[in-house]
Amino acid sequence: MGALRAETGPDGIALVLYDVPGERVNTLRDTFQQDFHEIFGRLAEDSAVKGVVVASAKPDNFVVGADVEMLARTKSAIEATALARGAQQALQRLEDLGKRKPVVAAIHGPALGGGLELALACTYRIASDDRKTQLGQPEVQLGLIPGGGGTQRLPALIGIAQAIDLILTGKSVRAAKARKLGLVDDVVPRAILVEVARRRARELAEGELRIERNKVELKLPKLLRTEVLQQIALEDNPVGRKILFQQARKALLAKTHGHYPAPERALEAIRIGVEKGTEEGYRAEANFFGELVASDVSRRLVEIFFATQTLKKDTGVDEPSVKPRDVEKAAILGAGLMGAGIAYVTADAGITVRLKDKDDAALGRGLKQIAGILDERLRRKRLSPREREEKLALITGTTDYSGMRNADVVIEAVFEDLSVKHGVVRDVEREAANAIFASNTSSIPIGLIAEAASRPDKIVGMHFFSPVNKMPLLEVIRGRSTGAEAVATVVALGKRIGKTVIVVNDGPGFYTSRILAPYINEAAFIFTDGAAVEDIDRALVDFGFPVGPMQLLDEVGIDVAAKVAHVMHDAFGGRLASPAGFEKLVESGRLGRKTKKGFYLYGESKTKEVDRAVYELTPQGHKRNSPTTGEIAERCVLQMVNEAAHCLGDGILRSARDGDVGAVFGLGWPPFRGGPFRYADSLGAAQVVERLRSYQDKFGVRFTPAPKLVQLASSGGKFHGR
């Protein structure tokens, strides 16, 4: 059965409904080329049909893009190019039909990637004003470019500069913005979407409605807007266009550091289309698409995408009978940076929050932080003032345990100290006996926290990352005595508040903090051995991390890192020892950004500058002598990979998949390198072990390869089967 069905009404308008059988969302699948040729060919010939409306039969999505599985199945660049050519031809068929009979796209819900390209091939586009309606070309997020003519039709419709912005960033826009950009011709309430689309199709067919699209509305006040000037000045003449493409390319490279070829290729496809005509443009698009589908970068990004998709269906426990508890009310203990952040994301998901701190001043600061995040969204028009009030109203503050007895989950974000945590466990068992107790600890084992509990099955770890409203990962920790219901409940809660959730077993540092520790340690060794701060950070940023380890230390707090390092050293011995000189930093009050004193200067200056005084705390003083960029990055990264292999071997991780997702979404591991396990697989375990051993000879036990790696090296196996 095909994904398209058509029905012609007495008004002479054929309603074509997109409806992939058996799926919740519409995607462009293997059969779509055939479907298109068949249906649109027939409608072109049917004299009873005057016009066509294309809509989705799904309740909340138009077409969300090409089926990623289909792309992943392609074996070569040639095969993928052929796929793109086929898509282009199918959509050309639609565009050709539109030249004889108007085709109106009626868009409700996301129209993304191939879905937007489908809409672009129509004659006229109407979107519902619903918040779910979003239009965009997110292909670059999977290391790809639009492959169904998007790089050609989009600039033709909305202008080169705007098209570059959409395609290169992969961002999507809502209906109102799409109308402004000229991406859709009209925006109407959802209830009358198809009805209006039919009417417009009839009017277009009968010549009552003529399409007039001005890329730029030349009204007087708008002339002063820079985007208009930019368009007039640059797009309409070859010299201007050249400048525009050069500037776009420069901005792009500054952002991607050359790690992501897709946006560059997209830019090139757009340029070729503009300068050499669409025929050449389509060909370039298909060729680049094929090349990118087969590229390592895209393969890694697609793997991560699949991993997050499977995690969405993972309950976090292996017991199929266990059901998560419904969470209507969550209590959060501690209104500090983390507690307030957790309160915000929880209320944002529509859950009632009872927020507790020791006094009103602390509560007030927490509420201020939450209101600040909401205000920012209000400013960006992501929220209406009423929605802001509604979300804020879900949070009430308290300085005692009132109003907690009916909380389903209590999340503690109090000071990171075992005896404090124990006190809280006892309080909660007394005041909210029925609640699941989640600790937002980043390093204290859940088993230790649960020692104070009379019902340890209710104690579970929920390790959020800072800032909570931005960081996508939630690391759930299952202690030895944690019950399955507790795990399933916080996993479901985590997904509900929009996080990607991995479940790990208990141990010092769990997974993320544990693999971060030797990575940071290595950077610290390199620093104390005489390297320059900026060289270390540059090496890892070049590798693909969003920030380097030294800057990360400043952000996290050097004292916090030192404390964690201490815990890790105690737990794992010499392998996780940090350099001796490092304590000096903390002793001298150099704690990072929070004290405005760290590896970098935190003054008025906007540009980041190393605080050279920090070198006086190392034996070499101001004389810096850095290893090569390659060695710095390799040493740090190998530490992380090796520790990740330990975690898998020790049973901390449930799978290599979780390890990759945790590193990418929690620690900023470069997504195009797929995570530590995919990265090890791409190098080959033997190569990883060989490199570790060569450093082991030089630096000792901290580079001793993990047993799991040694085992894979000798068997020639991989962490990932696929």
Binding site: T352, A361, L363, G364, T398, G403, N406
Partner: protein, 431 residues
């Protein structure tokens, strides 16, 4: 024998904001904001399952045109489920008592099981209106199709018309202000200046003592306000902690400068605040995991000619409520009287014990009698605590039940005088 027909109604929780003098701590808050704060916190603190709330009945006496049904807006703003039904009530100073009895009747009849009721008043945020000519011109201008037409609409508006008109606290039917009416009562009932001042001092003294003794800790929430939630409003700010009887005598009469006795000291001040209660069918209390603070035994309302003694209707409503409760005043352990003015309190009490009054007005019934001083407003009253019009009823109910609980007593009579010549009373019991 239950005196009320239908299901018995329990009061299971209550809460109020601090009551503060108008234009002080809550000057930037609206009635909606205050109502939202108190309802949101009450529902959380009472640990009521959100799904169990059937209705919200709420009111404000000086309404805002933007909030014609404030109950609905309070429910939505406080984050109650959106399918919780809501209606607003107004009965001047007895508004939140009306909210409670309206919900109680619906519970008794079995229409609903649980309701949040209350009221809020933001005297710092009263609507300022324009004169009739200006209002008419604005409406006409909005219909005008051109700028000229729009401007023409204003041609008959004079400069004097442009002055905004704040709402007067005066009787619409008599034109007399509340204070003038109280003044009239003081004279006609022979209530001396000294007696009024002594009452006012008593009110402040007892209220200060109650605050000092931490008696309001279960009744008053703290409100975090300000742009950055940096201001904590934790206590009532009208109560005089060092009230001295001599001080009251120095104040000048406000409404009748020559022969008057009503002063700012022996009247309740303009106040901002909100209060709310949770009422629930007795048979549902336990299954919802709640605990009753007390029960509504009976209530009654009465009205008198506003041109006679505007605030004397409690002389009718209290005997009526007692009769419905099947009780005598001697069966009552605690009497909470709303103190609009000391002169009104003393007039009401005088009427309650007067055989003459009963003969003339109550058809010769026995007067309900004297209220022993120790049973009367033991934590002070509206003169000291303040009087946000729509919030006072809910305050009195909750405060009375907490006081009974503390003293281990059982029954309370609540009496409220209200504008328009209205009187309200109810009888509460703990068991």
């Amino acid at each position: 024998m239950p005196p009320r027909p239908g299901r018995r109604v329990a009061i299971v929780a209550g809460l109020r904001t601090p009551f503060v003098k108008a234009n002080t701590s809550f000057k930037d808050l609206s009635a909606l904001e205050l109502g939202k704060q108190v309802v949101g916190e009450l529902v959380q603190r009472a640990e009521i399952p959100a799904k169990a709330i059937d209705q919200i009945v709420f009111g404000t006496v000086i309404p805002s045109v933007e909030l014609p049904n404030i109950a609905r807006e309070v429910g939505l703003a406080a984050g109650l489920p959106k399918n919780v039904d809501a209606h607003s009530v107004v009965r001047a100073c007895a508004t939140s008592l009306q909210a409670m009895t309206s919900a109680a009747d619906a519970i008794a009849l079995g229409e609903i099981d649980l309701a949040v009721v209350g009221g809020s008043e933001a005297m710092s945020d009263v609507p300022i209106t324009y004169s009739r000519p200006v209002a008419q011109a604005v409406l006409a201008a909005s219909r005008g199709r051109s700028l000229v037409e729009k401007l023409q609409a204003f041609q008959h508006v004079s400069a004097k018309d442009l002055l905004p008109v704040p709402p007067a606290i005066a009787e619409y039917s008599t034109g007399l202000s509340m204070g003038e009416s109280a003044e009239k009562m003081a004279k006609e009932n022979g209530i001396s200046r000294e007696a009024q001042d002594a009452w006012a001092h008593r009110s402040h003294f007892l209220a200060a003592q109650a605050w000092e003794g931490g008696k309001f800790r279960h009744e008053v929430m703290r409100v975090l306000t300000g742009k950055d939630f940096e201001t904590v409003v934790a206590e009532d700010n009208i109560v005089r902690k060092d009230s001295k009887l001599e001080g009251y005598g120095k104040l000048k009469p406000v409404f009748d400068k020559r022969y008057g006795s009503i002063t700012a000291g022996n009247s309740s001040p303009l106040t901002d605040g909100a209060a709310a209660l949770v009422v629930c069918a007795e048979e549902r209390v336990r299954e919802l995991g709640l605990r009753p603070l007390g029960f509504l035994r009976a209530y009654a309302y009465a009205a008198v000619d506003p041109g006679w003694q505007l605030l004397q209707a409690p002389a009718f409503s209290a005997p009526k409520a007692l009769k419905r409760a099947g009780m005598k005043l001697s069966d009552i352990d605690l009497v909470e009287i709303h103190e609009a003015f000391a002169a009104q309190v003393l007039s009401n009490l005088q009427a309650w014990s007067s055989k003459k009054f009963a003969d003339e007005h109550l058809g010769g019934a026995e007067p309900i009698g004297d209220v022993p001083d120790e049973k009367l407003n033991p934590r002070g009253g509206s003169i000291a605590l303040g009087h946000p019009f729509a919030a006072t009823g809910a305050r009195l109910v909750h405060q009375a039940l907490r006081e009974l609980d503390e003293k281990g007593k059982n029954t309370a009579l609540i009496s409220i005088c209200a504008a328009g010549g209205l009187g309200a009373a109810c009888v509460l019991e703990r068991t």
